[in-house]
Amino acid sequence: MSSNITPITMPKFGLAMTEGKLASWSLPVGTEVSAGDELADIETSKITNGYESPAAGILRRQVIPEGETIPVGTLIGILADADVSDVEIDSFIKNFNDNFSSGETKDKASEETPRRIVEVDDLRISIQESGNGNEGTAVLLIHGFGGDVSNWMLTQSALSSSHHVIAFDLPGHGESTKQVGDGSPEGFAKTVESLIKILDLPNVHVIGHSLGGAIALELAKSSPELVKTLTLIAPAGLGQDINMNFINGFIEADRRKTLEPVLQYLVHDKNLISRQMVEGIIRYKRLDGVINGLKTIASASFPEGKQAVSLRSTLEKFDKPSQILWGEQDEILSAKDADGLPSTIAVTRYPDAGHMPQLEQAAAVNAIISSFIA
């Protein structure tokens, strides 16, 4: 029945090819072709190549549309003589496809919150935006020493139901450029200021965690007009002491075994430090320039094992709504550092959280921030 039907299949170009993309058909349906005529352009991860017809006939069908990626051997078209009926061709295609097994199907990559790079004062800053901003003022999330946007994984999505939320990686961190300048909170605050201006935001609700809290305070000091409210989570800059075992261990530990106990300082529930998180930080620390950047930041902010800059008076003088959130079990910065502040600054303490209440007490933290910025 099919003696004058020739199946055209995805060719195999070279030894490594298992699938190919039908980039374009070279001839329309109905063209009479000779053996050797170019039928289609096939694209592989390696090359794009013209595929020549193995036989003569009329190109009766283009079974696979342009742009589709399919396994080698898949039926892509049909050559047949003019006297072969469409019914015969349909039945040929069905038979062919019934007998052809293409192996596994490819799963689509899961959708992630989009990241983009913003050029800020010669630095490449990776930001992650979400939410539509119904409520007007945007929220800016500033992570701490050694952190990145993932520190906000439970915060950002919760706030984005009402606000335009921007998380970003500080210089020296995550996917941002690894030059850190002098590494001081003041220096970082200048970058944050530029970022806010480049994003064309009149002002923002600032939420800063740990060293990011000190950066938020520096921003409030230098550009108060950009800060609508200030939420400081376990911030640096309010006391002197800091757990240098964490800072030094974070810089020095380069294997899972040695890094894991260091990261456990961050949380009250030690099980939160997952294998994946440790691996992620090891991978981050392998990037060119990261260790040097972290050392620069540490020596600018915590020389000789103490916090270098006090921002208490900045906070006391800041005249817009400010609040502090802190885990009572914090092993890196003491929650006592929030003692003795003016009563206009609300302080909320979480008995069962360590240095990262936004992860350990996410629901409570999200609720209090939501109402604070509402």
Binding site: T9, M10, P11, K12, F13, G14, L15, M17, I47, T48, N49, G50, Y51, P54, A55, V72, G73
Partner: protein, 321 residues
């Protein structure tokens, strides 16, 4: 030059067989049914056939990764070759070697070769056997312009001269070592290389069977006469990529088409033999038809042939255990 009718028909049949075998593989490989990779000899048929026309089953040749043509020219069975390329138990190497390792030592075919420059040293050894066993046979190393730059090849030219071996070094110069042009990769000339090692140099147009036949005859006669090795430099062109799937972007548009149009050894052979009335067109047509059905049969047989069995995996690692 006198060529017997028998040699003419046999040579034409060999060239046609190579052409059809390779063109068929070009199509079959693209279906994904043939494992591994294949390197096609299309366009170069007259070289292998013109040289091997002077050889018997007891002369030895060593080939290259582009070895199908040499195998056919030396008489290796097409059905066994096709089965080998399909990885079948009935293949000439029982599915152990594939396209790049087809060999038939009973026919003096010392193997295609996956290693560039692998053949010339082996041919020194084969020639040494022929010399010491006084069997009046010769040994022929086929290799490309690419392999001419391997140390193993250059050392072999030296050794063959030092030992005055009955060897012929056939440089099949298609202008490209893989994707790199010989004009870049080959310093000096093949002629000067031969002279440097003190061996006579012959050259010919490798797309003209009669030129190859005549020149190869002189080179082989030299070697067979005990006067030491010779070099035969054959100029030709390959019509397909280095391997199947190679897009050949390193060759100018139209380069291959021109070769196909003007330097097709089969077309030119047919033209010449009819012009000088050496063979009748009907004889050639009959061969063409014959070969076509032979290749068809070989493909059908290969696809139907049994795969190797589990026990074959451990067989033939050694002669004795």
């Amino acid at each position: 030059m006198q060529i017997s009718r028998d040699i003419l028909t046999r040579s034409y049949r060999s060239m046609r067989t190579i052409r059809d075998f390779e063109e068929r593989l070009h199509v079959e490989f693209a279906t994904g049914e043939i494992p591994g990779f294949v390197h096609l000899y299309c366009g170069e048929e007259a070289s292998g056939v013109g040289v091997c026309a002077h050889l018997t089953d007891t002369d030895t040749i060593a080939s290259t990764h582009r070895g199908h043509g040499h195998c056919i020219a030396k008489g290796v069975a097409v059905e066994g070759m096709m089965a080998e390329i399909y990885g079948r138990q009935t293949g000439v190497c029982h599915g152990k070697g594939g396209s790049m390792h087809i060999a038939d030592l009973s026919l003096g075919m010392l193997g295609a070769n996956g290693i560039v420059g692998g053949g010339p040293p082996l041919i020194c050894g084969a020639a040494l056997s022929h010399k010491l066993l006084k069997d009046n046979n010769v040994a022929i190393a086929f290799y490309g312009d690419g392999a001419s730059n391997e140390g193993s090849t250059l050392e072999s030219l030296n050794l063959a001269t030092v030992w005055q071996l009955p060897a012929v070094f056939v440089v099949e110069d298609n202008g490209y070592g893989e994707a790199t042009g010989a004009s870049y990769a080959c310093a000096g000339t093949q002629k000067d290389r031969a002279a440097g090692f003190g061996m006579p140099y012959f050259e010919c147009d490798g797309t003209d069977f009669f030129a190859v036949y005549k020149t190869a005859g002189e080179a082989i006669a030299h070697a067979r006469s005990g006067k030491g090795p010779a070099m035969l430099h054959v100029h030709l062109s390959r019509w397909y990529g280095h391997f199947e799937g190679d897009a050949m972007s390193y060759r100018a548009d139209g380069e291959v088409a021109k070769q196909r149009a003007e330097h097709d050894c089969l077309v030119n052979f047919r033209k010449y033999v009819s012009e000088v009335s050496l063979l009748e067109t009907s004889v050639l047509d009959e061969i063409d038809a014959d070969v076509k059905s032979e290749i068809d049969a070989a493909v059908i047989a290969a696809k139907a042939a049994p795969l190797p069995e589990d026990a074959d995996l451990m067989r033939d690692v050694y002669v004795s255990y």
